[in-house]
């Protein structure tokens, strides 16, 4: 009873699809940000698995960079959500339609 290492990659694919669905289906900006986080984490898992597959540390190093970028993205995204909530009293992305003519 054993699986190939690529089973991890398939799990990462499923998680990525779930994250993409979250971004597309949900209307709450906070939950959409979490969907983006899930996609980034799925990519991280792929990087780690391929790092193991090829015996090369570069994949893990890039997973670190992805983490840093995700942290920066969350900080900026959340501050945008907070400032929009302050002026519009809503976190729904459908309500942000000021530029719509």
């Amino acid at each position: 009873m054993s699986l190939p290492v690529t089973a991890y990659v398939i799990l990462a694919g499923v998680l990525f699809a779930l994250g993409a669905l979250t971004v597309l289906l949900r209307r709450n900006a906070l939950i959409e940000l979490m969907g983006v986080e899930l996609m980034l984490n799925a990519v991280n898992l792929v990087l780690v698995v391929f790092s193991r597959l090829y015996g090369d540390l570069t994949g893990q190093v890039f997973a670190f960079f992805v983490m840093v970028v995700a942290a920066a993205e969350v900080v900026v995204g959340l501050s945008i959500v907070v400032s929009i909530f302050r002026s519009r009293r809503s976190t729904s992305v459908d309500d942000v339609s000021l530029l719509k003519h």
Partner: protein, 325 residues
């Protein structure tokens, strides 16, 4: 497990397969992760979505450690669950938990169906690409030694030092951006203690609002809740003694809820107000009534003598008498 074998054909050599123990670990963690992913997709509230996300992060950390990346797994727990998700939870609380919201509030059923089809198609496409691809025979990191922090540091600050510097730049830009985006300019003047006092006195002068503290809430034998009103000297419940928030939410207690006996007595007129209460009077000038109680001092004889003379003359003025003597 057999179905998984048929789903995932062995495209790797014998070395690329994972051990039985790791397979069991993978199966359990993968089930929890996908379950929480579906939970994130269908969560009614942002808080439950965030909790699902935290479980996913921890499960992924377990998978990293299983994939010979122990340092990355620990960093995942520290950075994601420790910092990022805490930040998200803070913002959820700041923005307000809010009521239930539909999984897809806007958009027609057709567009939703297309989106779901897209998601399923993405998963199937990724899976089939992985299954159809030919991977080289897996090598693996040598017994987890190469993923030690020292080796990672050599890779990070040796080959990728420029990317590292750019990451630092990115973090500075992100911090500045967050500060700029959430910065708020003051619309009204800052309320200081002296301006608060001045406005209170102005309200007292114009509208007669009491400038001091409001009375504390009442303490009764049955309850000392802040929702219980205090009693005035006339025996009436004071609305202002209950905190404004409780009053606005309609949570304040009325007098018969707190003390039915007292309320009944008040209704029957058995509560006497201060004016007709039978209290002893001091006998001081401008305070007519019974004489002041005599103070008996057994040691000082003169004090007893004074007290004697005071009882002799009920409406007398003890202070003046002492001066005369």
């Amino acid at each position: 497990m057999g179905t998984l074998h048929t789903l995932v054909p062995l495209s790797l050599t014998e070395i690329g397969k994972i051990s039985t123990g790791e397979t069991i670990l993978f199966a359990i963690v993968a089930l929890v992760t996908i379950g929480c992913g579906i939970g994130l997709l269908t969560a009614k509230r942002a808080v439950s979505a965030a909790v699902n996300m935290i479980v996913i992060m921890i499960c992924l950390a377990v998978l990293y450690i299983a994939n010979e990346a122990p340092f990355l797994g620990i960093t995942q727990v520290v950075v994601y669950t420790g910092a990022v998700m805490t930040l998200v939870l803070f913002v959820v609380m700041l923005v307000g938990v809010g009521g239930d919201e539909p999984v897809s509030g806007a958009g027609s059923a057709l567009s939703r169906g297309i989106i779901v089809l897209f998601g399923l198609g993405l998963a199937v496409l990724l899976g089939s690409v992985v299954i159809r691809s030919a991977f080289p025979s897996a090598r693996g990191l040598e017994s987890g030694d190469t993923a030690a922090p020292a080796n990672l540091a050599v890779a990070l600050f040796g080959e990728h030092v420029v990317a590292m510097e750019l990451t630092g730049l990115l973090l500075i830009v992100a911090a500045t951006g967050a500060l700029t985006l959430t910065h708020r300019q003051r619309i009204r003047a800052k309320v200081t203690q002296s301006s608060l006092v001045a406005s209170k006195m102005k309200a007292y002068a114009s509208k007669g609002t009491h400038p001091g503290q409001k009375p504390m809430s009442g303490v009764y034998a049955s309850t000392n809740s802040a929702a219980a009103p205090a009693l005035s000297a006339q025996g009436e419940a004071l609305d202002a003694s209950v905190p404004r928030v409780l009053r606005a939410r309609g949570l304040e207690l009325s007098l018969h809820e707190v003390s039915p006996e007292y309320a009944a007595a008040q209704r029957d007129g058995r509560i006497r107000s201060r004016e007709d209460a039978d209290v002893s009077r001091s006998g001081m000038p401008a305070m007519p009534g019974a004489p002041a109680p005599a103070v008996v001092q057994p040691v000082a004889g003169r004090a007893a003598e004074l007290a004697q003379s005071a009882t002799d003359e009920p409406s007398g003025e003890p202070v003046h008498k002492e001066e005369e003597k």
